[in-house]
Amino acid sequence: MTVANFIPGQPVLSWILVILAATLTLYFIRSSAHQLLNHLTLLIVQNLKLLSRAIKHTGEALSKRNREVLLEHGRQQAERELERQFIRLGNLVEKDLARYPTVQRNIEQNISQMEDKLGKTSEVPAPLPEWTEAVESITKLKDSTKNDAVVGKLLQAIYEAFNKQQQEVMSTYRKDIANRHQILKSAMGHWRHLLEKLTQVDRHWQHLNEQARNIDLQVERFDNMVKGTDKAERLLKASSTTQFFISLVVMAIAGFGAFVNYNLIALPMSELMPATTQVAGYNVADIGAAVIIMLEITVGLFFMEAVGITRLFPVIHFMEDRKRMIWAWICMLFLLSLCFVEAGLAYMREMMVADKALLTSFLVGGEAAATAEPNEASIIPMIGQMTLGFVLPLILMFVAIPFESFIYTGRHVLGNLLVQICLLTSTLLRSLSLFIKQFNHSLKNIYDILCFGPLWVEHLIDQRPKKSSAPALPATSIETVEVNDEPSLIESNDSVKKGA
C-alpha cells in the first residue's frame, strides 16, 4: 500500500494527510528527538575530547621524555668534550712542566755564568808604579841643587821612564778593558738564551691559560646541560637534527658501499655454500655474502668502540685500558682476516667469470673457440676487485661513527616526530568534536524546519497577549524542554571536565 493510496482515489489528499500526520508527529516528539541528538552528540564529543586530551598528554609526556633524553645526550657529549679537554690539558702540563726543572737548571746555570763573568769585569787594574815617590824626593831637593846638571839628567831619565811606564800602563789598561768587553760580549749569549727560555715559558703559560679558558667554557656548557636550561635545549635540538640528517646521508652512502661489496662476493660465495638451497626464498650463498658484510660492520663497530671513538657498548667502553686495547687488537685481527677473505673471494669471482666466459665460448663456438689463444687480458679488473674486496670492509668500519650519531639523534628526532603527530591528532580530534557539535545544531534546525507549521502556530500563541495570569500549559512545557536542552550539554561538558 503506497502513500498515494492511503485514501483510495485521493492521492493528493492522501499525501497532505500523511505530511500533516508526519509533521505533527515530528512536532510532538521534537523534545525527545532533540534530547536524543544531544545525548548522542554529548557521547561522541566527550569521547573525542577525552581521546584528544589523552593524546595531548601522551605528546606532552613524550616531549618531556625527549627533553630529558636530549639533555642527557648533551650532558654526555659535554662530559666527553670536557674529558677530552682535561686530557689535553693533562698532556700539556705533563709535557711542559716535566721540562721545567731542566729549564730552571738551565736558567740558573746561565745566571751563575753571567755572575762569574760580571765578577771578572769588576776586577781592579794593577796600581801605578811607585815612581811618584821618586818625583816627591826630587821636589824636596834644595833650590841650588835643582839647577844641577845631574839633577837635570835625573829628571830627564825620570821623565822618560815615566813616559815609558805610562805608555805601558795605558796599553795594559786598554788590553784589560778590551778583555772585559770580550767577557761582557760573551755574556750576551747567556742573556739571549735566558730571554728565549723565559719567552718559551711565557708561551706555555699562555697556552695553558687558553686551555683553562676552554675548560671554563666547557664547564659552563656542562653546567647548562645539568641545569637543563632552554638555551642548552635549543642548541642541542638544532645540533641534533643536523647531526641526524648528516648521519643519515653518510649511512646511505655506506649502504651503497655495502651493496657494492655484496655484489663483489655474492657470486663466489656460491662456491662455498650450496647454491641450490634457499632460506625464505633467498639463496643461502647470497645470505652468506650479506652475513659476511654484516659481520665486518659488527667487528668494525667493536673496534671503534674499543679504541674509544664510539660509545655504543658500555661493556667494552668500561673495560680496563689494557683489556680494551687487547680487544681492539683482536677486532682488528678479525677485520683483517675478513678483508683477506674478501680479497680472495674477489679473486675467485674473476676466475669464475672467466671460466663462465670460456664455457660460453666453447658452447657457442665449439672446441676451436675454447682452445683459441685468448686475447691479452688486462689484470687491472682483477687487481681492482681484490683491492676493493680488501679496502671496503675497512671503509665500512667507519660507519660506526655515523651509526652512533644516528642512534642517539634518531631517538630525539623520532620522538619529536611522534610529539608532532600526537599534537596534530589531538587538534584534529578537537576540531572533529567541534564539528559534531555544530552538526548537532544543524540537525536540530533541519528538524525544526520539517515541523515548522506547528512551531509557527506555537510561536503565534506565545506572542498572543495573555488574558489570564495562568499560562498555557503546553506552550510552557515545550519552552521548558527547549531551555533545558542546551544547559544539559554544557553541564555535561563541565561535569566531564571536572571528572577529568
Binding site: S270, A275, T277, Q278, V279, A280, V284, K356, L359, E367
Partner: protein, 213 residues
C-alpha cells in the same frame, strides 16, 4: 646462560626449518634419429648448448635418442644433475657437450621412430630427479613408426609435465596433404593433454625467447 643457549638452539632450528631447496628444473631432450631426420641433429646440438649455458646448479639434463625401440636406458646419450658448485657444474657441462658432440658425429639412422617409448623413459627419469619443473622436449617430425610387435597404447602419466615439440619438419606426404600434419599434431596434443601434461610446439628455433625455460 642456559636460556641463551636455548634461544640460540631455537634460532638455529627455526632457520634450519626455513631452509628449502631452490626450485630446480629437469629437462629431457629426445632426439629423433630416424631416416633423414639425422641431418637436423646439428640444430639439436645448438639447442643442447643453449640449454647447457642456461641451466643452473641443481638442474638435471638428459639427452636420449629416439630409435626403433626407445624405451631403453641404452638410448640415453648423456644425463647429468649439475653440482651445486658453479665451477664443478661448468666442468660437467663441458663433458656433457663433448659426449653429445661425439654422438652427433657417429650417429646412425634408425629404421623406426618410437616416440611414445622415449616419452615414457623421459617421464621415469624426470620423476626420479624430483625436479620442480619437468620438461620433455622432442626434437622430431612427430611421425611415429613402430617395428612389428611393439605396443605403445599404454597410458602416459604426464601430470606437471611440459611436452615441447621442437623443429617439427613437414614430411613429403604432409606437403601433399597438410591435413595429415595437422591431424598428427592434434593427436599428439590430445595424448599429452589427456595424460595431464601441457603441450607446446616450437618450430622457429632462431627465437631465443621461445626456447627459454
Amino acid at each position: 646462560m642456559t636460556r641463551v643457549l636455548l634461544i640460540a638452539l631455537l634460532t638455529l632450528v627455526t632457520l634450519g626449518g626455513c631452509t628449502e631447496q631452490k626450485p630446480n628444473t629437469g629437462l629431457y631432450l629426445l632426439l629423433d634419429t630416424s631416416g633423414t631426420y639425422t641431418k637436423e641433429l646439428k640444430k639439436a646440438q645448438q639447442i643442447i648448448h643453449y640449454y647447457l649455458a642456461n641451466l643452473e646448479p641443481g638442474d638435471s639434463f638428459a639427452v636420449a635418442r629416439i630409435d626403433s625401440g626407445s624405451f631403453s636406458e641404452k638410448d640415453i646419450i648423456a644425463k647429468v644433475t649439475f653440482d651445486h658448485r658453479p665451477s664443478r657444474a661448468n666442468e660437467q657441462k663441458r663433458v656433457f657437450a663433448a659426449t653429445i658432440n661425439d654422438f652427433i658425429n657417429t650417429v646412425e639412422s634408425s629404421a623406426y621412430t618410437d616416440i611414445n617409448g622415449g616419452l615414457l623413459l623421459a617421464s621415469e627419469y624426470l620423476n626420479e630427479t624430483q625436479a620442480d619443473r619437468k620438461i620433455v622436449m622432442v626434437f622430431s617430425d612427430m611421425q611415429e613408426e613402430l617395428p612389428k610387435g611393439y605396443k605403445r597404447d599404454f597410458e602416459l602419466k604426464l601430470s606437471d609435465y611440459e611436452v615441447v615439440a621442437l623443429n617439427v619438419t613437414k614430411l613429403r606426404s604432409d606437403n601433399q596433404d597438410p591435413q595429415q600434419y595437422m591431424d598428427r599434431m592434434t593427436q599428439w596434443q590430445t595424448r599429452v593433454e589427456q595424460s595431464g601434461g601441457k603441450w607446446r610446439m616450437i618450430n622457429d628455433l632462431e627465437r631465443e625467447d621461445s626456447l627459454s625455460l
